[in-house]
């Protein structure tokens, strides 16, 4: 029952056929997609990123509702320049993936010509934690009840860039994330109370940097967090350094975050860093008036200015 909710066999067939053609014709030299992980007893089904180079491997490809994690960052691992053909990559893009890819393109880390995009209008991925409460016992469950919160609040279901679409576009529902409920709740506290909240959250952080590594807005060649000079942070984990780390991470994605929610999903310690990102989204929208606070569709808001920006510093 649940399997049927997760899968779309028809879409999968289309995807495989198309990827086979693209590989065989030499239009792309590899395809970045998902494969179903070997099923383990009692453990939730999961689809994981994979790279297909051989047309005979296309049967491995899947596309279902457990295909989390944006693929676009893997592009940065592929060699580029010289006569390397690796970057002539095909990939599947949902709405959020296309926004993430646009981020990399705007930052000149990937060029649009290098990639061939199979667009998939997407109606949401499933939240593992929600799914684990019903899997595999419950015979019937509504899709709505197990969808990821980020997807429930998504306002970019359809890819914004693609070369072809594998299925019909879906209608865009108005986003609910932009209500910023949690941000407002935190803003209503006193500074001391807010400090306590963040102190408790950050004290759990183990600085694994999964949040950074998965983030499409964190695409620098050399991350400031790994620079020894100046050493903005060391490997020491005093609470002061934890604040510095989170300040840096959040500020560096301010106005660049595409709202894919991956950082929150991968954090092993359950730290609500999304509320840091959403604080910036909210302020950027209020101060600089962006229609879609989630996505810089043009130059990022901190990379430009308006002479008529609000003036508070006179």
């Amino acid at each position: 029952m649940i399997a049927a909710l997760l899968e779309d066999k028809h879409l999968e067939e289309l995807l495989r056929a198309r990827v086979r053609q693209l590989l065989e014709s030499g239009q792309i030299s590899l395809f970045l997609g998902y494969e179903r992980q070997e099923s383990l007893p009692g453990i939730l089904p999961s689809s994981v990123p994979c790279i297909i180079r051989d047309p005979s491997d296309v049967a491995r490809l899947v596309f279902d509702r457990v295909c989390h994690r944006s693929l676009v960052k893997y592009l940065l691992d592929l060699p580029t320049g010289g006569d390397s053909k690796e970057r002539r990559a095909g990939l599947v893009v949902r709405g959020c993936d296309s926004l993430a890819l646009q981020r990399l393109i705007q930052d000149h880390r990937v060029s649009r010509e290098e990639v061939y995009l199979l667009g998939i209008p997407c109606t949401g991925m499933v939240d593992k934690r929600k799914l684990s409460k019903v899997y595999p016992q419950s015979p019937s469950v509504s899709l709505e009840s197990i969808l990821d919160d980020t997807c429930l609040g998504c306002d970019t279901h359809n890819p914004v860039i693609y070369d072809e679409l594998l299925c019909e576009k879906v209608s865009e529902a108005p986003s609910s994330v932009v209500d910023f409920v949690q941000v407002r709740r935190l803003e209503a506290l006193s500074p001391d109370e807010r400090y306590k909240v963040w102190e408790a959250e950050f004290s759990r952080c183990i600085r694994c940097f999964a949040c950074r590594n998965v983030c499409p807005a964190c695409d620098c060649r050399q991350c400031t967090l790994e620079s020894n000079d100046p050493g903005w942070i060391t490997k020491h984990t005093s609470i002061s350094e934890q604040f510095m780390f989170h300040f840096i991470r959040a500020f560096h994605v301010a106005g660049r975050c595409v709202g894919c929610g991956e950082c929150e999903r991968v954090c092993p310690m359950g730290i609500n860093i999304g509320e840091l990102n959403r604080k910036f989204m909210k302020d950027i929208r209020e101060l600089f008036g962006r229609d879609n606070p989630k996505m810089p569709r043009d130059v990022e808001p901190l990379g430009k200015f308006n002479p008529d920006d609000p003036e508070e510093f006179l």
Binding site: G42, C208, E226, V266
Partner: protein
Amino acid sequence: MSATITVDLEELETQLAGDVSRRFDVYVPVDENGAVVFRRLTTPASGWLKRSVSLTRSVLPANKLLTPQTDPVLRFQGGPTDYEVSDAAASTDLVILGVKPCDARALKLLDKVFADESDIDQVYVERRQKTVLIGVACEKPEPTCFCKAMGVSPWSSDDCDLMIYPMQGLEGLALKCSSDKGQAFLAGMHLTIRELPAETSEEIEAHYRAIPQPLSEFVGHPEALSLDSFELPIWGRISERCLSCGLCTYLCPTCYCFAVVDKSLGERGLRARCWDSCMFPDFLKMAGGHNPRPTKKERVRQRFMHKLCYTHERYGQIFCVGCGRCVEKCPVGLHFVDVLSQLRRELAGGGGDGL
């Protein structure tokens, strides 16, 4: 070892929060926004003991309390040429309550690294001596647990000093003493103790023995990898989806790598041992810029060769206790069980030795 006994839950709770907390730093698992973490017991609300022993495994292994993420070594003061240096390494009398059998076993493995006769880490050894481990048998293993496959029993008291059996239907809290240290610690609390008849003790064990762990059956009993596996062609493919986040190593109870990092704030500074991870791209990067493990292939291979081969060559043990943390948390599902399966398939296909 000794017989199973029961004690009164409230009495134990009062003792631990009261007298014991004055003599020891007591750490217990607590639930923080859905993440189970060990915290120092300071001003607990009543009922904490019951809550603590009913929690699932912690996100970070209990044994990391003995090798903290930032572990002071020495302090320095003065400068720029003349420094006063003082020892900052410290060990305290520690009680860790709620240790799962996998984490307790991990300490046994770490003993081989840090407390081997030929290679002694003085601070670690001191901490080990001064720590009382109070284990909790696993009432409800996570679906990702596979400790049985790795030779750990989720009810065994072997690697702890005291073991709690939080099983329902007993009068009082069932306990077992499994070391002299545990015995002395228990005696020091002056609790009202009731011995359980041998049958009950057997019933308890049978209860825990019967709790299924499906993943363990799937994993079977892995053999060590041979050194030749270094050259296996699939390492490149296995590693392709890794994010290099290092989360797997930080959450792993048997991973212990650290870097020595000096941090100075003007005239005062601290040298500490800080966790480091072989999955980080710059882990082996040298001053001249050379990096012997430049890509994910070398790094992922290192993690699994280390667990499945090098530690076996050196200490006679595979360094995995089947805690399942990497299985649950790796953002891209590149965990011990998955890699083991891939290696097994490869070795079976290539006619090599099975795992």
